[in-house]
Amino acid sequence: MATSTINTGSLLAIDIGTASTRALLFDVVSGHYRFLASGTAPSTVVAPFFNVGEGVRRAIDNLAKATGRRLIGSDENLIMPGLADNSGVDALVATMSAGKPLKVVAVGLLEDITLASARHLAATTYAQVVDVIKLNDRRQTSDRINTIMQIRPDLVIVAGGTDDGASQSVLDLIEAIGLASYLSPETQSPHILFAGNQEIQTEVRSVLEGVGKLHIAPNIRPTLNLETISPAQRELTAIYKRVRNAQIGGIGDLLSWSGDNLTPTAVAFSRVIRFLSKKYDPDKGVLGVDVGSQSTTVAAAFDGKETLRVYPYLGVGTGSVRTLQKSKLDGIIRWLPFDTSNDAVQDYIYNKEIHPHSLPVTRKELAIEQALARQALLLAVRRSLPDFPAGSARPAPDLLPWVEPIIATGSVFSKAPSPGQALLMLLDGIQPTGVTTIVVDQNNLSSALGAAARINPLLTVQVIESSTFLNLGTIIAPVGYARFGTPILRVRMTNRAGVETTRKVRYGMIEVLPVKMGEKVKLHLRPLHQFDVGMGGPGKAGEVTAVGGAAGIVIDARGRPLRLSQDPKRRKHLTRKWYHALEAKG
């Protein structure tokens, strides 16, 4: 589809999630693109429909009801382009996260180098590496074939050999891939993405072309010290579309309507984060997190360089039991502000996986679901930290780099009963450092905007600038450790009228500065005891302009990384205290 920077048409974005399918309408209002409305329906990827079409149709119908705009014509097709009577839309883009993660076999020479890059590539979409083949793999070729035939992967990613580097070793590794592809029936033959030594492309083609669905991408590890994922990621997205089209009914129609513009939700989300990183402070990165029913996505970008990690089966619905298994029960229970039995929490999470669409009815149930979200987020962010660019400034290697803003999406945040609850989940799970802003994508627009950027970048820019995200507040999170109750930060706040207030913040507390939504204030921050607020080093003071959000301006003085008390009684007491500090405002 042609890319245009000036496109005044309306746009319909379809997002197919594990639980819900959403139709989002964007159009020009008073000369600027705006988000108009959304329609939601349960996703119909699974039984009894096995076709995304029914969910898409219902979501569009609900959108049409909400807007009064006719979107489906008498021929039962989407009206596109839009008509003079304001019916229909001019373009459609689609994003998708539903469906089982792609089963991937990663092939590379060395575990820490090319194989790591192959894993990183797989982690940029909804995929799970189920086996690896590497140089020091002791299995014989026939055993490798048997493994592949048993796993029946959707995709084999072959990395290996820097450019001008190893060649025969790579060709030896792919022998089993070629034979397994040859032996597989056409419908079960995996896609093979070769993203290794470009010098042996011809040999790779001669081995794999004709026996498998071969795709060639630029080397993801052209030199030992350089990883370049993006070009291969585009090819991976194309493969994702083909696999989903073969697996799920109705995708073909969606591809046809959208002019092949179907993007994995995480990739589209990452595109928005990359865009924002170019817009904001180049010294800091931008972080995006998306906690879904089945998976959690972490997207970070530092001056246009992105890191995208998708964690399938780390979610709060269909992924809830796996989240529990990866965390152990204590990892969930530690976030709860009340006494409960281990069995009750475990049983709730298992029931949630059976009924992923169900909603928490009581406060205790809500607290368990929010604890699950915190833990999914914490695990995802922690696992992503080593993959952020080496040059990204951060207070310590095991802490989050300085980022601003942080964008959070997912219904666990957007449907939280109060902004304070959403914010506390994000503070606990992400543990931001220094001064930042946390916003919630309350209408879950990010991925749609990322997908739209390909055909209408102006729309993406203008909608992002139209306050569509809910600013939860400016966050000040001093880094360091002290005894509980020790003063660690002096804050002097000056409002627009010039009125000054000062506050001494003690370690272990969350304090809220009562600043109204959108109100700008000047903050003079003086960290004590060598705490670091990102003003140039530990103990350094500085001044920032901060904007009040839905939860005001929040000082999270609990230290980094956050250490919860080992004493359950004290931990619950503090958890309640933090909750009330934010809930009172939020």
């Binding site: 009894p48 069995d343 298992y350 029931n351 669409h357 909603l359 009815v361 009581t362």
Partner: protein
């Protein structure tokens, strides 16, 4: 709004698609009467391959080895058959290490696919094969009672059922599992004691149907050699009244097909019990997809509602705020004790019975 469906019906037409995960061979015939344990199709899950290094075996160069091949692509070989040679002074030969088929031969190597026993797919219920799906499986039809659950350990059986509960909220105790339940499918309420499962394995029972179970016991239940099915969920809750009534009346002392397959929403597969009954020729099929509507019989899934059932009185016109603070589309449901409760639509499942009421 679309409603998920859970079937609990004393009398219905049941059609089940039984298909292989990958293409294979269908052995059942159209019109064939099948019992739950009858094999209806089979497939080779993962063929075993072996690469023979012919050149090394004959101690010759690969191109020479190719000229000494006795078998070629497509040939079947038996274990011990000479596949290449003889060569050299000592008349070296290479023999097939197992029975199979030659898939490739050349460059001094031979790839053989071993013959392996196929995996069998069983009918899972009493009924008649009404349609063959070539290479994939069959559709089986029967009439009777149908009861779906939420968890199964992947096994199936057929046998006489024995009730081990007197009321829906009874807990199944280890002492109840003795020699008297041997060879039957035991039906209990809530289970939290691992000894219950151990006694069931010792008896042994033919199967176990539980109203609910502590999630702690899942690792044990998953490994039991007989089918275990959970009807309502994890943690203590009474067995849903519709299931209790059905098991206590319609199906008492009857043979049942217990298909404790894993619950896979993505495939539309739920663990289920089917009791074939002599019923009239014309009987309605339950809906597989439904829409929420007033007058509809529903099942409440959230544990707070303890697996109760009720009738939707009305769908609320505006989203409702629940004690958790969550605001959601909701329905007013009349429970069996006539209590009216507001429930998020997301916490309801339809029984899939046809209703003439207006949908929402």
């Amino acid at each position: 709004m679309l409603a998920p469906v859970k079937h609990i019906s004393p009398l219905t037409l049941i059609q089940r698609e039984r298909v292989l995960p990958i293409p294979g061979r269908v052995v059942a015939r159209q019109g064939q009467a099948v019992s739950p344990t009858d094999v209806i199709a089979e497939y080779v899950l993962a063929p075993k391959y072996f690469i023979l290094d012919i050149a090394e075996g004959l101690n010759v160069a690969p191109d020479k080895a190719d000229k000494l091949l006795q078998c070629h692509k497509g040939d079947n070989v038996s274990k011990g058959d000479v596949v290449a040679g003889p060569a050299g002074l000592f008349q070296r030969v290479v023999r097939a290490p197992f029975s199979g088929q030659v898939k490739l031969a050349g460059d001094g190597k031979m790839l053989i696919e071993a013959f392996v026993s196929p995996v069998e797919l069983r009918a899972g219920l009493d009924g008649t094969v009404t349609r063959i799906i070539p290479d994939w499986g069959v559709i089986i039809e029967t009439r009777g009672a149908l009861l779906q659950g939420v968890w199964g350990n992947g096994k199936m059986t057929y046998g006489l059922m024995q009730l081990l509960l007197e009321s829906p909220d009874d807990e199944l105790r280890a002492g109840q599992i003795d020699i008297s339940v041997r060879g039957t499918i035991g039906v209990g309420g809530y289970c939290r004691d691992p000894q219950v499962l151990q006694n069931a394995a010792k008896a042994p029972v033919k199967g176990l149907i539980l109203g609910s179970m502590s999630a702690d016991l899942l690792p044990i239940a998953a490994k039991l050699p007989f089918p275990v099915m959970i009807l309502d969920g994890f943690g203590q809750m009474p067995m849903n009244s519709a299931a209790y009534k059905l098991l206590n009346t319609t199906t008492k002392d009857r043979n049942v097909s217990l298909h404790a397959q894993a619950y896979q929403a993505s495939k539309g597969e739920r663990p289920e019990i089917v009791i074939t009954l002599p019923v009239p020729e014309h009987i309605e099929v339950l809906l597989e997809a439904d829409e929420f509507a007033a007058g509809q019989k529903v099942y409440l899934v959230n544990k707070s509602y303890s697996a109760q059932t009720g009738i939707i009185k009305r769908i609320l016109s505006k989203p409702f705020k629940f004690p958790s603070g969550i605001i959601a589309l909701a329905a007013e449901v009349s429970l069996e004790n006539d209590e009216l409760v507001k429930v998020p639509l997301a916490c309801l499942e339809s029984f899939g019975e046809k209703t003439s009421q207006e949908t929402y």
